[in-house]
Structures are given as C-alpha cells and as structure tokens.
Symmetry: C2
C-alpha cells in the first residue's frame, strides 16, 4: 500500500510533466510476446500518426526491444527492471529525463510483458492500452480481468494467424463486453498491417486533444 | 523480504508433505496462453505417466482451467488469486488440503500466467517447469532470464505453428544455453502430440524417483 502511494505521487508528477508539454503518453500492457514491440515498429515506420514518436522500453533484461525501435527510426530509452515485474512511475521519470521528448509529441511506454502487475501501477500516462494476441486463446480477457478493467483501449493482435488457431473472436469480444461494455477495441495484425491505420487514427485523434 | 521468508517457511512445509507421501509435485510457469492447460489436458488424456495425476489450478479469475482439467479426467482444485500475480505456498497448502492427493501420485501445479513473479515463489515443488511457446518469439529466454535460471526443465510448445512464424528454434536454444547450459529442453506440440511422450517419460522417471 505504501509502495502504491509513493508510486501514485510520482505518477501524478509525470502526468503534470506530460500535460504541461502537450505530450500524449500511452502505457502498453500485455503478455510477453503478444506483439507490443512489433506494433510500435509498424506505427513508427508507417508514420500514420504524423507526430514525433518517442519510446520508453521496459524489460527485465537486454536492450533487444530498444534496438528494434532504434532500427525502426524512433528515439528510445531502454529501462531494465531486473527482477521487477512492471515499470513504475519512478523508473519512467528517470527514463523521461534521458529521452527528453519534445512538446506536443507522443510517448509510447512499452511495459514489461505481464498481464497482471503493470495494471496496478500508474505511470502518469494518458491512456492504458491493453493488448491480447489471438495465439494466447480467446479466454484471456475473462481470466485476466484487471487488464480489461483498467484499459482505455484494447488491441487484439496477430489476427493474420486466426485461420491456424482455435481462436473465437466473437467469444473474445463477448467476454470483453461483459467486463467493460464501452471499451474501444481494434483487431489488427502488426505483421500484415491490417487494422493498423484505424488504430493509428484513434491514437492521433487522442494525441491532438492532448496538445 | 518478510513476504518471501514467510513463503519459504510454508513452502518447506509443503515440500515435507510431498516428500513424506512420495508425491512428485511440478510447478508450471509460463506466459498467459502458452499452453500450460492444454499440455496438462494431453498428459492426462494420454495417461503416459501411468500414475495418478492431480492438478492445482492458479488463475486471477474464473474456473475455466479447472473445468478443462475436470473434463480431461483428473481431480482438480481451482485457486483464484484475485489481484495476486502468482501462487504462493500458503495458497497451495490450502489447495492441497482440498485436493487430498494420494501417496505416490503426481501433483501438477499450473501457476498464474506470468513469466516473472512466479519464479520468485517456492511452492514446495520438486521441479519448476518453464514453458515458452513458439508464437511468443525466440528472444523470450534472454528477456526473462529468471524464468530460465530457476527452471529445472524447459518446454517449448506450439512447434506445430513454426511454419507460419518467424521463430528461430536454434536462436531460442542458444539463448537458453547461454543462461543455463545443462537445462533439459523438450520441444513439443500440445495440439498434435509431437514430443509429448518423451516429455512424459522424463516426468515419469522423476516421479518414480520421488516415491
Ligand atoms: N504472425 C504475426 N506475428 C506477430 C505479430 N505481431 C508480432 N508477431 C511476432 O510475435 C513475436 C513477439 O513479438 P514482439 O513484438 O517481440 O512481442 P512483445 O509483446 O513486444 O514481447 P515482450 O516485449 O517480450 O513482452 C515476434 O516473433 C513477432 O514477429 C502479428 O501481428 N502477426
Ligand atoms: N497450435 C497450437 N495451439 C496450442 C498449443 N497449445 C495450446 N494451444 C492453444 O493456445 C491457447 C492457449 O492455451 P492454454 O492451454 O489456455 O494456455 P495457458 O498457458 O494454460 O494459459 P493461462 O492459463 O491463461 O496462462 C488455446 O487456444 C490452445 O488451444 C499447441 O501446441 N499448438
Ligand atoms: Mg517487446
Ligand atoms: Mg491455463
Ligand atoms: Zn508481479
Ligand atoms: Zn499441511
């Protein structure tokens, strides 16, 4: 409880930073390997948002994701959390001082691959984006309700693989509706690009409003 | 630290329980949706272990996995952890008193889908089984090193999907070897059954030794 209190204090500080600079910050939360990095790579390469994109990468170990983001062409800082299972507001605060995003830009925060713990730690973001992938199965929303309940947006990724899976998109959407009826949902493939432009338009609209 | 100390005390109690009864207990740890439940379903249905199989299911919410295990034909108890991101030894202790596994049996503990936190909580098991699936990408061992470092066995699942993925099995194995050179690894498909009999034989051998 003390940990969360201290985190919320720092998160409020981050949020003030973002808001005073007109920066639109997103906290991407999902299981390991559901495609957070690949989605960011696609958004950066296609430049649909037509806004400066900055990335904060969170992982237990390695610079792998930051290297991929650098190759895609966006400024990025990698945070290694060690044994910690989530980014917290203090880590993000330190990361932001290295990243130095410009006013009216977009900061994408890719959290540690984890459907549970990151949902409890406010980073100061404007929106929490939950990601599930078709390969994980259609019952993940029901089984990890905090992920859905705390999300402002849900992205269902890897839809290109659905022909090879037992994934029932309608069942997945139904369990999402049961938990959070008005949650906006986009079904996409970071690989083929399907659905990405619509997602980018939603993000861009929110980003302009944040300016 | 106090939390881990109390957990270790209870874990030691669980371990005594198991050892005095000749029970072989496995703690299955992996990301959400990598196939823990499907693998257990297959092991139960095929009965390769030729030993009584009991299951303790851990999930934030729902009875979904326990229902699947019941349908497959094994006695099972579902533990719902609420917001907790991992099973702990006390939850397992309470679950065991409901499950009442017989002497010389096998208890499969399916942990909450999470590659990070469960690795830090001893449940009293004989072996920690780490599971990765090909759909998550080949860099997960490097990015989630605690999972590999604490594992007694690694299972790579969903190999049937490899033709449709960018998954480099050699790269995955190389990053595992870098962290833990002597870790036994099985590549399997819970869907097609490929590799499952070899995995079951390894488990059966360990189970007999535990009796
Ligand atoms: N077929 C297909 N594969 C995808 C898609 N998106 C990502 N992948 C693949 O899924 C694997 C994992 O993708 P990542 O982008 O590393 O996933 P992540 O969520 O960033 O993983 P962590 O950062 O470790 O939590 C990689 O092999 C990707 O190429 C998709 O839409 N379709
Ligand atoms: N193609 C293929 N699909 C699989 C395989 N194993 C599991 N699946 C599918 O992957 C999805 C997730 O499987 P689960 O067994 O629910 O995964 P889990 O690890 O138990 O998930 P959690 O308990 O939520 O962490 C389901 O749609 C399964 O049918 C496999 O070997 N091949
Ligand atoms: Mg990533
Ligand atoms: Mg399961
Ligand atoms: Zn955690
Ligand atoms: Zn007891």
């Amino acid at each position: 409880k003390a940990i969360l209190g201290r985190n919320d204090h720092q998160a409020a500080h981050n949020r003030e930073h973002f808001q005073s600079e007109g920066i639109f910050a997103c906290n991407w939360i999902s299981a390991p390997g559901s495609g957070k990095t690949r989605l960011l790579e696609a958004l950066i390469e296609e430049n649909w948002l037509r806004l400066p994109l900055y990335v904060l990468e969170g992982d237990q170990a390695t610079q792998n994701d930051a290297d991929r983001i650098k190759k895609a062409g966006a400024p990025v800082v990698q945070i290694n959390t060690g044994s910690a299972c989530h980014l917290d507001a203090q880590m993000v605060h330190l990361g932001l001082h290295k990243l130095n995003p410009t006013p009216n830009s977009v900061v994408m925060i890719e959290n540690v691959g984890n459907m549970v713990c990151p949902t409890a730690f406010d980073l100061g973001e404007a929106v929490k984006i939950a990601l599930v992938s078709a390969t994980e199965g259609d019952d993940k929303p029901a089984k990890y309700p905090d992920l859905i309940l705390t999300a402002d947006l849900l992205v269902i990724n890897k839809i290109d693989l659905i022909p090879y899976l037992d994934f029932d998109l309608d069942a997945c959407l139904a369990s999402v509706r049961k938990l959070k009826p008005n949650l906006p949902v986009f079904a996409v493939s970071a690989k083929t690009g399907e659905g990405l432009e619509a997602l980018a338009n939603w993000l861009q609209k929110e980003a302009i409003q944040a300016q």
